[in-house]
Amino acid sequence: MNERFELPARLRTTSIVLMLVGVLVLVIGGATLLTGDHHAQTRFWIVLLQNSVFFLMMAVVSVFIQAAASLAQGGWIVAYKRVPEAIGANVWVFGAIAAVILLFIAFGLNIDGHNPIYHWTHPEGDKILEGKSAFLNKGMFAGFTIVTIALWAFFGYKFRALSLAQEKAPTNSTKIYWTMVKWSAGFLLVYALTQMSTTPWMWLMSIDAHWYSTMFSWYTFGSAFVSGMALILLFVLSLKNHGYMQLVTKEHTHDLGKWMFAFSIFWTYVWFAQYMLIWYGNIPEETTYFKIRQQGPYGLIWYSVFIINFVVPILVLMSRPSKRNYFTVTFMALAIIFGHWLDFYIISMPGPMGADWTLSWYELGVFAGFAGLLMFVVFNTLTKASLVTANHPLLKEAVLHES
């Protein structure tokens, strides 16, 4: 079977328009914010940081789910495997953007003699930051950032290359299938040591450098994972909507819906566990993190995040018919991605911006730009190979899948 995807004009236009919005907002933002006071300049950079890290982490989930499915020998994912492959193969785009922004913020950003986002770049005179400086310093930051992004991008590219090689392999050959299992084990190790433990400390937790939480990386992983699954679902349904991906049935979207449902609860579990321990411990240096977010000026976003990411998914996605309804799952996928974007917003904003937060043209414009870029690169990659992984040993199992 060979199913070639041709990018419909409407999708191309949408993605280009979204990208243009992003570029336009960036130009206007550069002209107005970067010439403004230090608050405006900080806003310019922190929004870029939030978006680039969010989109990068969301994209890497596609690499992770391929590795996890490959190791578990999961068959059902094979029906739409080209979608996570295409997202994974474009990790390098978002990785490059994130690397430039992160490294600039750590090394180049200097407003009135201090770094408004990463305070720890100048630890002099601050006992706590000096104590952390063995780990939290510019060299380590650059090292973690570059190594992490390089590995993620490499594995994303490698998995797609292996899958494309399988197409050309002799029929019923399982050699590449087992090669993929080995590479998957390698990636899980990389992912565990980066996304699930150290890298979010560097990129996000160090914005509030005095505060720390051992659950933080799990919490960002929960966010990334649920929005990553929602992203895969959106691409699959978008392809189905244009008449492609005939092998994907309600059984597959049902299972993707289950992932979104289950990991919305997982995210809430970690989110709440982190909150409750600090609430119960009631140590001032820990509670300041939540004081500004929950009871302070960010209260509205805090509770919106809880409702969008937990209350709505658990109630809407709980029943079987709603997971088998294309409209409901699409709506929920969009809501979840936006909700977790808001979650990243509330992770990154309060540290540098303080009480004066804004959520208007610049924030949403940059989000639109990143979304357009994601659509553009992923759809373009999808056109480059057959949408059906025809020679995959588990394809039959995937087609017969019953959820």
């Binding site: 709440f272 909150y275 409750m276 609430w279 119960y280 009631n282 709980m318 029943s319 079987r320």
Partner: protein, 194 residues
């Protein structure tokens, strides 16, 4: 509690069982049940079983657990016996959440297990008639319910035509019962008469 007459057909192959079930459903005979040694994929669909509302029951049990835990704790800590725990408010919602979560899970799990047992007529201490001892070993047993309008011989011939390896007619209790020895003996006698 109803003593009924049954025609029993045993199959030793899944591949024969599925067409046989199909034929039974088309024949007009009343299908009592099918017993298999292991869960057979797709048999529920072949039998035309609809999805049960077990999950709706589970949701209700879960909500009951949530309400019980939250209500009980709130009542205790705000009005019945307010205590000061480390300066926390009396209505300390975050501290209630773990217990609420556990109670929700407990209620949903126990409630669903009991409901499942009830729907399947299984429970510790209750008995059901076993149509063939090998139904838990290596035979697939299809049981048809007979009444006075149905000829036993025709039913048996029909079952044989679908590829059985063994057939029998049995008079037995169709429902579950609480097992007592005197009652068991009655059944033994009853079955022996056929």
């Amino acid at each position: 509690m109803a003593i009924k007459k049954f025609a029993v057909g045993c199959y030793d192959d899944e591949a024969v069982l599925f067409p046989a079930v199909e034929k039974v459903r088309n024949s007009g005979y009343k299908l009592h049940d099918v017993y298999t040694p292991f869960p057979v994929h797709g048999l529920d669909k072949a039998l035309g079983h609809k999805e049960t509302d077990l999950h709706v029951a589970g949701f209700i049990y879960g909500i009951t657990g949530t309400a019980t835990a939250l209500g009980f704790m709130s009542w205790i800590f705000t009005s019945d016996w307010p205590l000061n725990f480390g300066g926390k408010p009396h209505f300390a919602l975050p501290a209630f959440i773990p217990i609420t979560f556990e109670t929700t899970v407990l209620f949903a799990a126990v409630g669903m297990v009991l409901t499942f047992c009830y729907l399947n007529q299984i429970m510790p201490g209750v008995k059901k008639h076993v149509f063939h001892k090998r139904q838990s070993d290596d035979l697939f047993v299809v049981v048809l319910e007979l009444n006075e309008h149905v000829s036993e011989q025709e039913a048996i011939d029909f079952l044989k035509s679908t590829g059985t390896v063994e057939t029998s007619v049995q008079i037995a209790e169709s429902e579950w019962w609480y097992g007592r020895f005197d009652k068991e003996e009655e059944y033994e006698k009853l079955n022996a008469t056929v």
